[in-house]
């Protein structure tokens, strides 16, 4: 095959070449006070997948995300995003932190928060343009919060706050998203709205990684799953790795409480 057609292949199917994988992690270890939180993580995520990261409390799920985004120092290992270091790939990455990580009494409106998603591409000193404001408003409409744009954010419900964060991620216009528990404490309607949004992102070829707590909905929402407990227990297509055996290995004794629920989930598929 000629070189020209080779590179053509790469452009057509970037997922095929390992260089352009949305996320590739090698030997990643993160330790606090010399105690490892995540240990020797190897992970490759193909393009266009909706990925759940599941594991017990303290398994290092948030740590994994933050280490990918260089928010916390890595003890060792490498993370590449579309074949590049995080610093170079930054503009292709979107991030939704945990809702409790910010002060909702902060004097900003929902629209202000969403507009923050455009700051990264604006660069220093530049002001938010009318166009970014319009984009932010559009994103708020897409999550069904247009009427709440000018509300101070503490006057939104938990689900609305979560959707504000998602709208902010939308205006980041990234190719790969890291979301830390976007489903935490939201009502059923919001959960459906979020799932729809995630599927839409997937349809547009985006890769989305979601820290998720509700085992029951994993097979329904996500087509790729990473089971994490300090190490990667299993990672791959959800229907292959989301098995009783793997869940037991991930949760260990902690699963006893919902073993039954998990059994039902796995068997019902």
């Amino acid at each position: 095959m000629s070189q020209a057609s080779d590179s053509f292949m790469q452009i057509e199917q970037p997922g095929i070449s390992s260089r352009s994988l949305p996320l590739k992690i090698r030997d990643l270890t993160v330790a606090y006070h010399r105690k490892p939180v995540i240990w020797d993580i190897d992970l490759s995520i193909p393009e266009g997948k909706l990925v759940s990261i599941v594991g017990p409390n303290g398994a290092g799920k948030s740590t994994l995300i933050k280490a990918c985004l260089e928010l916390i120092p890595r003890t060792s290992g490498e993370v590449s995003i579309y074949g590049q270091s995080y610093k170079k790939a930054r503009k292709r990455v979107g991030y939704v932190p945990q809702r409790e990580s910010v002060d909702w009494d902060f004097p900003v409106s929902a629209l202000d928060v969403v507009a923050m998603g455009t700051y990264g591409k604006l660069g220093w000193f530049r002001r938010v343009s009318k166009r970014s404001k319009a984009l932010s408003m559009e994103a708020l409409e897409r999550v069904g919060l247009a009427d709440y744009a000018h509300r101070q954010i503490s006057q939104l419900s938990g689900g609305q706050q979560q959707r504000t964060f998602l709208a902010r991620a939308l205006v980041q216009d990234a190719d790969i998203y890291f979301m830390d528990e976007p489903f935490a404490a939201v009502d059923a309607a919001t959960e459906r709205a979020i799932v729809e949004l995630l599927k839409e992102l997937q349809k547009r070829g985006k890769t989305v990684l979601v820290v998720h707590h509700d085992l029951a909905t994993v097979p329904q929402y996500f087509d790729w799953t990473v089971l994490l407990n300090m190490r990667v227990v299993a990672a791959g297509p959800t229907d292959e790795v989301f098995t009783q055996e793997n869940l037991r290995r991930t949760y260990g004794g902690k699963l006893t409480l919902f073993t039954q629920a998990a059994n039902e989930v796995v068997q019902s598929r």
Partner: protein, 306 residues
């Protein structure tokens, strides 16, 4: 009450000092590190003393630099101690600034024989004396002015802080609200933190001589906290905090002249009264602010029950 041009200058200098502090104070309050202003304003003392002992002069520039360095070190040490020392940030702040402040006091007291640097002046300032140090006599619109040094220095610092807040408004907003997202996007929130701390240190030093460190702490926190009760918009909060700071300075000097007379005393300290006025304004706002005030909320609650 008699009003002289010296009174005008006292009010101007007080307002400039208060305004410079209030501008930065908004972001300290919103970042939940109000006490960092307290810590830095005490901790810069050894910076001042060392700068003085090294250069042997009370030159403003070397003192600014000395204070700025120690101010940033305070922020750095605080982070280190809370990270490696198994204590929370509040406690590590307490460790750092008391140690540095005591060191500064020792340095001053040791050098006091031949040094014109007075610890009580650092704490309380001497705003009533600042108008006497005239450095510039311009004529504006046919009026000849006698501009004191403190007014010039503080006008410079206030202007610089205002430019900083306007130029970095977007960066200050996102790094104060969501430091992680800011950093993930390439807006280094640690850098913003240290820039802010440096400006707090410089502002503190500039204000020391005029109003003293106690008022600096008050003006870093109280106007911003008051403004936060009045609005949900960040830019408006910044504007209101400056207006409240200026209001405290004006009311502070007026009441320093008038109030003691009611009880048969001579006039009292302006900088003390400024802090008292700021506190009074805060209490009034806390009670009556339309949206977040205690009383309007109580009224709304009872109406809702009915």
């Amino acid at each position: 009450m008699e009003w002289y041009s010296i009174d005008t200058w006292i009010v101007v200098i007080g307002a400039l000092a208060a305004g410079a502090c209030a501008l930065l104070g908004n972001f300290l309050v919103l970042r939940k590190m109000s006490m960092m202003g307290d810590a830095i304003s005490h901790a810069v003392l050894p910076g001042l003393a060392i700068a003085f002992l090294v250069t042997g002069a009370r030159a403003s520039l070397s003192m600014f630099i000395g204070a700025a360095i120690v101010g940033v070190l305070t922020a750095v040490f605080t982070q280190w101690i809370s990270r490696f020392g198994k204590v929370d940030e509040g406690a590590s702040m307490g460790i750092v600034f008391t140690t540095l402040f005591a060191l500064g006091l020792l340095l001053i007291v040791q050098g006091a024989d031949h040094v014109d640097l007075d610890p009580s002046c650092v704490l309380y300032g001497a705003i009533e004396l600042t108008p006497l140090d005239v450095v510039w006599r311009p004529t504006l619109f046919g009026c000849s002015l006698e501009v004191p040094r403190a007014a010039l220095v503080l006008a410079g610092v206030t202007l610089f802080n205002a430019v900083f807040v306007v130029a970095f408004f977007k960066e200050l907003r996102i790094s104060s609200f969501d430091a992680e997202l800011a950093t993930a996007m390439g807006i280094n929130s640690k850098l913003m933190h240290y820039l802010l701390m440096t400006l707090v240190a410089v502002t503190t030093v500039a204000c020391f001589e005029a109003v003293g460190s106690i008022i600096v702490i008050a003006m870093l926190i109280v106007p911003a906290a008051t403004a936060h009760l009045l609005t949900d918009r960040l830019w408006l909060m910044v504007v209101l905090s400056v207006l409240i700071a200026i209001g405290s300075a004006v009311l502070g000097h007026l009441s320093a002249l008038i109030v003691p007379g009611w009880f048969g005393f001579a006039d009292t300290s302006t900088s003390g009264m400024m802090a008292v006025m700021a506190g009074l304004i805060f209490s009034t706002v806390m009670l009556f602010a339309p949206k977040y005030g205690v009383l309007p909320r109580l009224v709304r609650k009872t109406e809702a029950v009915r």
